[in-house]
């Protein structure tokens, strides 16, 4: 039971299972807005693809699927490490939480590094906003590159923001601000990070495999 005190009334007894942390609810509502944002982004890109007059390159014709599969694997791993960090601190294991948070940071930085490398290689290969070069070296005018860079770029920006948020969480963790009874900060970050992973799962299929 927890007590909620109002100015006009006597304290009300509320069962603990009925309460929801306002920070957690805030993150969930933010994620709802993110679903709508990515819906517009992915939906708009699909629409451009359906209406594209010059067709669309086949999967793997322009993009490096093995490299991105590795990146997908890394992002899934980083989701596990976040949830492990939360699990550790819920059990009061400070060292375990710190270890898994640092592993998550490594995963996020690795993902961004591979994405930057991928962009450099694609630009070298001739993938621009309004044209691409196929594996025979022929140039096609197409908005393919635009939809690719916008979708993966916005996702990458989310990963970057996640890494910044994670640095704050790690700083707090090393200052001993989380404990067995105070870990909503870790959980709130985790929700955002898992959502970014969830979006990547969908983007990987839609952008790279189909």
């Amino acid at each position: 039971m927890a007590q909620i005190t109002t100015t006009a009334q006597a304290p009300i007894e509320v069962p603990a299972e009925r309460l929801l942390d306002v920070r957690k609810l805030g993150v969930w509502l933010f994620l709802v807005s993110e679903v709508l944002f990515f819906t517009a982004l992915i939906g708009g890109s699909l629409l451009i693809r359906l209406w594209s007059p010059n067709g669309w390159p086949a999967p793997g014709e322009v993009l490096n699927i093995p490299l991105t599969s590795l990146n997908t694997f890394i992002l899934i791993c980083s989701s596990v490490t976040v949830v492990k960090a939360l699990d550790r601190i819920q059990k009061g294991d400070q060292a375990g939480m710190k270890k898994y948070l640092l592993l998550t940071l490594a995963g996020g930085v690795f993902f961004l590094g591979v994405q930057a490398y991928e962009y450099v290689k694609l630009i070298e290969h001739g993938l621009f906003l309004t044209s691409y070069v196929d594996h025979h070296g022929e140039t096609f005018m197409s908005p393919y590159g635009m939809t690719f860079y916008i979708q993966t770029g916005f996702h990458g920006a989310h990963v970057f923001i996640g890494v910044m948020w994670l640095l704050v969480v790690i700083l707090k963790a090393f200052n001993g601000l989380y404990s067995k009874h105070n870990w909503v900060g870790v959980e709130a970050f985790g929700l955002y990070w898992h959502f970014v992973d969830l979006v990547w799962i969908l983007l990987f299929t839609i952008v790279y495999l189909i």
Partner: protein
């Protein structure tokens, strides 16, 4: 502070009570990803003997992606264990997303 403590006590109780299978979900995500990537490489892997037609491949890949996303939501984001209201709030956004997706597909694509 009571409120924070209360909700954390609730989550502690729920998470520990159910003991989410984090590693099991991880291996499942990995296997589904291998199937996804492998499905596209079937012609290369089988020397052109097996190739899934687009009408099979695309729904299969989308179904695998949705299954993976659902696993992340249910187990890693704890929707399976948290209050049902969070699932309703989150899934309502996806319901709107599906409506949006259907509405933007050109008419001739549906054959109407």
């Amino acid at each position: 502070m009571d409120t924070t403590h209360g909700t954390q006590a609730q989550a502690e109780h729920e998470a520990h009570e159910h003991n989410p299978p984090y590693m099991g979900v991880f291996w499942l995500l990995l296997i589904l990803t291998v199937i996804e990537v492998g499905a596209g490489y079937l012609p290369d892997l089988t020397g052109g003997a097996v190739e899934l037609p687009q009408i099979v491949l695309v729904p299969l890949l989308l179904a695998l992606a949705v299954a993976k996303a659902a696993l992340v939501g249910m187990f890693y984001m704890h929707l399976r264990y948290d209050t049902k209201w969070l699932s309703i709030i989150f899934l309502s956004a996806f319901a709107l997303a599906i409506c949006f997706g259907i509405s933007i597909v050109p008419r001739d694509y549906w054959g109407i």
